[in-house]
Subunit: 304 residues, 2 copies
């Protein structure tokens, strides 16, 4: 079982418009409503790939009820703990004319010490039987940056490897706690380390204590950096589509590699690169195109 | 008591952004959430002006629960009947840089015959004790255009005057049923009658059977047209602000005139024009600026 934690879940509303125009009043179809957040996306992808996954999050208010309803409808296993604040929304407007997506991402309600304790306790309770823990996405206002590191230590105490997709202090602290995999993208890694070169940035996180840094480079593919090796993988050509959720597919790929006992660096990187590319072909985050396993054969890998 | 009916209520979400940019991912504060729809706005304004008002609407789903929660919090008297579909959303993004507001207006879920009957029955039950009925706003998909006319007849059977803010067939049928006041804006009147001249358009509605047509002209003020007279009122200069809800304030003004027994055409028009201008000064629909009564002294009226 892969356990995913989403510290800052969101109720995702998506509108599709024919021709977006700032300042206009547009008639639109009912928003597609989805339980969102990076950890939830990771759990969806892992499940699509045939692994059992459980999404853990704290939700509150009427938006939290909608979040719970949608998870139930989608059939994704989940553990939701009550949060004191209402779950935030994220509103995406997809413009068919330009292909652009405009997103209003709510910061979210501040979390309390009790909220934090309740979420950590739900994670702790889920660890027996788990094979991998994923902590993914931004932290809500009021959540200490030590939260990810705290979960890394809890999971390690239970003998369970941890993948962390976070940024800045939270990512550095998770690396220091010995996170098995860290997965920033290039911009996040630069914001975290101050280094423009992603391999140099990855090595900073390894030096802190992380064991593998997976760095997504968008259309240029992905890097896998360990203390002994640095590999660069990419598709023969970039795929057109929706990049939202591509990073989550890479995280799901590495989590599935962990639970299936595949510890070969090259094969982990190939899978992460292929699944990530496959996610780009899908209009929403948290899904892979049907050919996601075939795409693994197309990935080219070289030393970085 | 003023009873307002909102056939197509919406849960209004409003985001304020510093600099809107299509294609960007913007961090925003939690949406301001409000029970919306024209009839609800009219009830809010009438209450602010010291008249008791009751907002009637049919709501459903999780958005309907949020709608009900917000009405409860705001203290507005209301009667909500359960709808089979979920209440639609309307998402507004207010851009501080340009002053523009971009709105995604969901069409809403189709209503069933049972939904229609339940709403009509709630209106019927509210008529004893009412002094004015207001039917305001668009019709949801599946609602017959005869709905407004049906309510006009019900109210008249109970001896209660009716104000209708609707468009096209629904407006024409309401006029034919003898609506006491119809309130289209200039564009709606043109869409309804095919006539560019608002006085000529107003006279078409009077010919159908309406007794007073109030036509809002935006910055150019407002027309009041009866079989015997046509008056044009305007502020000495247009006011800058948010025009959303200006028409609802005019409807509330005429409803308040009706329940307070003020049947002088000139004074009704002055009040509608002043309140409408006052609503422009407020950032959200359903509110008047504090000086709304003072503004009545500034309105200029001439024969049209």
């Amino acid at each position: 079982v892969i356990i995913t934690v989403t510290p800052n879940p969101a109720l995702d509303l998506t509108y599709h418009v024919d021709a977006f125009e700032a300042g206009a009043s547009l008639r639109v179809d009912t928003a597609r409503v989805r339980a969102g957040g990076k950890g939830v996306n990771v759990a969806r992808v892992a499940r699509q790939a045939g692994e059992r996954s459980i999404a853990i999050a704290a939700v509150g208010g009427p938006t939290g009820r909608e979040f719970a309803d949608e998870l139930k409808t989608s059939g994704l296993d989940h553990v939701l703990v009550p949060a004191s604040g209402a779950t935030r929304r994220s509103v995406a407007v997809v413009d068919a004319a330009s292909g652009e997506t405009t997103i209003m991402n709510e910061r979210g309600a501040p979390v309390t010490a009790d909220d934090r304790a309740a979420l950590a306790s739900a994670v702790r309770a889920s660890l027996p039987g788990a094979r991998c823990l994923v902590v993914s996405g931004s932290l809500p206002p009021g959540m200490p940056t030590a939260f990810c590191a705290e979960l890394v230590r809890e999971a390690h105490d239970a003998g369970i490897p941890v993948v962390v997709d976070a940024v800045e202090d939270a990512l550095v602290e998770a690396a220091r706690a010995g996170a098995d995999v860290v997965k920033p993208n290039r911009a996040e890694l630069r914001a975290t380390t101050g280094l423009a070169d992603p391999i140099a940035g990855a090595r900073v996180l390894l030096k802190h204590g992380a064991r593998l840094a997976l760095v997504s480079l968008g259309a240029e593919g992905m890097l896998a950096v360990t203390r002994d090796a640095a590999l660069h993988a990419r598709m023969p050509q970039p795929l057109d589509g929706n990049p939202t959720g591509a990073g989550d597919a890479a995280v799901a790929a590495v989590a599935v590699s962990i639970v299936t006992g595949d510890d070969d660096l090259r094969s982990r990187l190939v899978r992460a690169t292929a699944w990530s590319a496959s996610a780009v072909l899908r209009p929403v985050a948290g899904e892979l195109a049907d050919n996601f396993r075939d795409l693994e054969h197309n990935v080219g890998v070289m030393d970085a």
